[in-house]
């Protein structure tokens, strides 16, 4: 803090405050990012050290508990060859984790990315053009946002049984655009009359330049918060569909593992590692994304940051 006040005392020549004072160095954002990254890296690094073919059914002995667990009388003794145990279809849980975690993340990133793209286009159109177009876009976004997307996705994937990971992400993207659209529209409306935008307009900047050079950078924290929220929402919907047995069937996913665990009554049989491993991985992903969203909210709205001076 001392350096900052000193810098301010010297005058306005110092271009920015200390490098470590950047609001982007938010503890919640960084911790959350590290959590999400760890799951992504698990998929990249894990493949180098572990045979992912063990994620397929009937590749391992059945019902092995994890090595660190007390083996009950109903289960065979743990085997160090399968550190996280195996389930009743003969899949190695560690291999399932390595294959499934990055796949969930990828679905979320694709869906949220497309949703954000549509949101940017519609949001700017709505906020800039205004008039009846604004009314139409706003009304549709409001109506869309209240439709229970998971339920609609269930109908669609019930009809289209063989679905690929990419198509699933596309389907999820169809429900990821209203949030960013509403957000960007509101931001555009509030920014349109700000000084720097008027300044840009007076200096004859094109509408396009105003949008992408003046407005978009100022919305970045909001957009990023909305993006991480959407990634989380898409992964949630994907996992939900998979847990109902409606996801991609050729490749093991975390949600599908939960589906098999529920169907085989793993909860009542005490096989906690069967559902516990995929849920733990998803909890790390969701908590990480959630922390990132909160951190980005704090960056966007400085008032939310911690204790205020009373």
């Amino acid at each position: 803090m001392a350096t900052v006040t000193a810098a301010q005392a010297i005058g306005r020549r110092v271009p920015r405050v200390s490098r470590w004072q950047s609001p982007w160095l938010n503890a919640k954002l960084l911790v959350g990012f590290a959590m999400v990254l760890s799951m992504a890296l698990l998929g990249v690094v894990g493949r180098l050290f572990w045979d992912v073919r063990l994620a397929h059914a009937a590749s391992s002995p059945l019902n092995l508990p994890p090595v660190f667990a007390k083996a009950g009388p109903n289960f065979p003794p743990p085997d160090p060859a399968h550190p996280l145990g195996t389930e009743s279809n003969g899949r190695d849980m560690l291999a399932v984790l390595i294959v499934g975690a990055p796949r969930s993340l990828r679905i979320g990133l694709i869906a949220a990315g497309i949703g954000m793209g549509i949101g940017i286009i519609l949001g700017f159109t709505s906020g800039f053009v205004g008039g009846w177009l604004d009314n139409v876009i706003r009304t549709f976004a409001d109506a869309f946002i209240t439709i229970p997307s998971l339920a609609v996705l269930i109908v669609i994937s019930a009809y289209v049984r063989q679905i690929s990971v990419e198509n699933m992400a596309l389907l999820l993207a169809a429900f990821a655009w209203p949030g960013p659209t509403r957000l960007i529209r509101a931001q555009v409306l509030s920014m349109r009359e700000r000084g720097y935008v008027l300044m840009a307009r007076l200096s004859n900047a094109s509408t396009f330049a105003i949008m992408f050079k003046e407005m978009l950078p100022n919305m970045l924290p909001y957009l990023a918060a909305s993006f991480t929220g959407n990634v989380s929402g898409a992964i949630l919907a994907a996992t939900g569909l998979e847990a109902l047995g409606l996801g991609p069937t050729r490749v093991p996913t975390l949600g599908m593992t939960i589906f098999y665990a529920i169907r085989a009554a793993a909860i009542i049989r005490g096989m906690w590692w069967w559902w516990g491993v995929p849920i733990a991985a998803l909890v790390v992903i969701f908590s990480g994304l959630f922390l990132m969203t909160i951190g980005l909210d704090e960056i966007a709205n400085p008032r939310l940051r911690g204790a205020r001076p009373q």
């Binding site: 209240t146 939960i258 959630f290």
Partner: protein, 336 residues
């Protein structure tokens, strides 16, 4: 009826029907965009099975008529919209003589009951926690404990539900793991039945409440901090009003308004999330019925349930919208 103007009512009613129409249209169109027309393929499959199911000829006829499969797509669409808007949802494919409307009528009260209780509890507790976190007179000890309640916020309802079944039903045996009431009980207004319903409802409701209250808490904290910076709060303090009065009438009353908007907007997500909770708990509501529909390839049932879920959500949002002018008298005077 102060505040509730005709224009507002008409606008919200339009929104209500638009939402339902949009949802119904998406359910109709998207399966048809898939390669190989799944609807036609399904009818063919049904015809192939027709030897095994009694009365299936009638059923297939109903399907063909319903979708107007021989006509062009816009005829199919109009037929579909007409049948759906009159709640003529067709026969169930898996348990044939029963109609989808009847099956839904049995399941809907469970879902609405569970969901409204859980959402109201979560909304009240979450907002209280958020308001207390942002309030400067909250004791430091309380302020340190309260964020703990956000721990489970980001975890999906149904994953928490699985965890709760394992801990509280399988491990500790405090609550029954599945179903909505005990076996062999007479349904009705008698004490053993009510007690059983409550016992069975605690865990599902608890998993929805615990997972969603942090969302309200965080939102409320943000709104309360913003409200706290307003001039009227300073004036209220300067006037020497009692802190409790400032907290309730000046702080919460203003900060909670956007939370109702957020409630209306996130209801769709809550409904979707709770379908999975019902599935995990085998709770006999819409979510579990939906799962059975998926397992049995019962497309009419799936489509009917999802349509009803859309209608239910839209109705709830409509009710919240109608209540809004009473909560915030300023809203109806806004001319757009």
């Amino acid at each position: 009826m102060r505040g509730l103007t005709l224009g507002y009512l008409v606008r919200r009613l339009g929104m209500f029907f638009l939402t339902i129409w949009l949802g119904a249209t998406i359910i109709f169109i998207v399966p048809r965009l898939a390669p190989g027309d799944p609807v036609a393929a399904m009818v063919t499959r049904l015809q192939a099975q027709s030897g095994y199911v009694e009365g299936s000829a009638e059923m297939i006829e109903a399907w063909r008529a319903r979708f107007g499969l021989d006509g062009p797509i816009y005829v199919q669409y109009v037929n579909y919209l007409r049948s759906v808007l009159t709640f003529n949802l067709g026969f169930s494919l898996s348990s044939f003589p029963s109609r989808v409307e009847e099956m839904i009528a049995q399941a809907l009260p469970w879902t609405v009951g569970l969901l409204s209780v859980a959402t109201i509890i979560s909304f009240v507790i979450g907002n209280a926690i958020g308001a207390l976190l942002a309030w400067r007179r909250t004791p430091a000890a309380l302020r340190a404990i309260l964020p703990l309640s956000f721990t489970f916020t980001s975890i999906p309802f149904f994953m928490l539900a699985i965890l709760f079944i394992y801990v509280f039903a399988f491990g500790l045996r405090w609550f029954p793991p599945f179903g909505a009431y005990g076996r062999g009980l007479v349904k009705g207004f008698n004490w053993p039945f009510i007690k059983s319903v409550v016992e069975h409802g605690v865990l599902p409701a608890f998993s929805i409440v615990v997972a969603s209250m942090g969302f309200w808490g965080l939102g409320m904290r943000g709104m309360m901090i913003t409200t706290d910076g307003e001039d009227y709060m300073i004036l209220a303090q300067a006037k020497g009003l009692r802190p409790a009065r400032i907290f309730w009438n000046y702080g919460i009353r203003n900060a909670v308004l956007p939370q109702f908007t957020a409630l209306a907007l996130s209801l769709g997500g809550i409904v979707g999330g709770s379908t999975l909770v019902e599935y995990v708990f085998a709770y006999p509501g819409m979510g579990y019925l939906l799962y059975q529909g998926i397992v049995n390839n019962d497309y009419t049932l799936i489509q009917g349930i999802v349509f009803m879920l859309i209608v239910t959500t839209a109705t709830a949002v409509f009710i919240i919208d109608l209540l809004y002018p009473f909560i915030d008298p300023r809203i109806s005077y806004q001319k757009r």
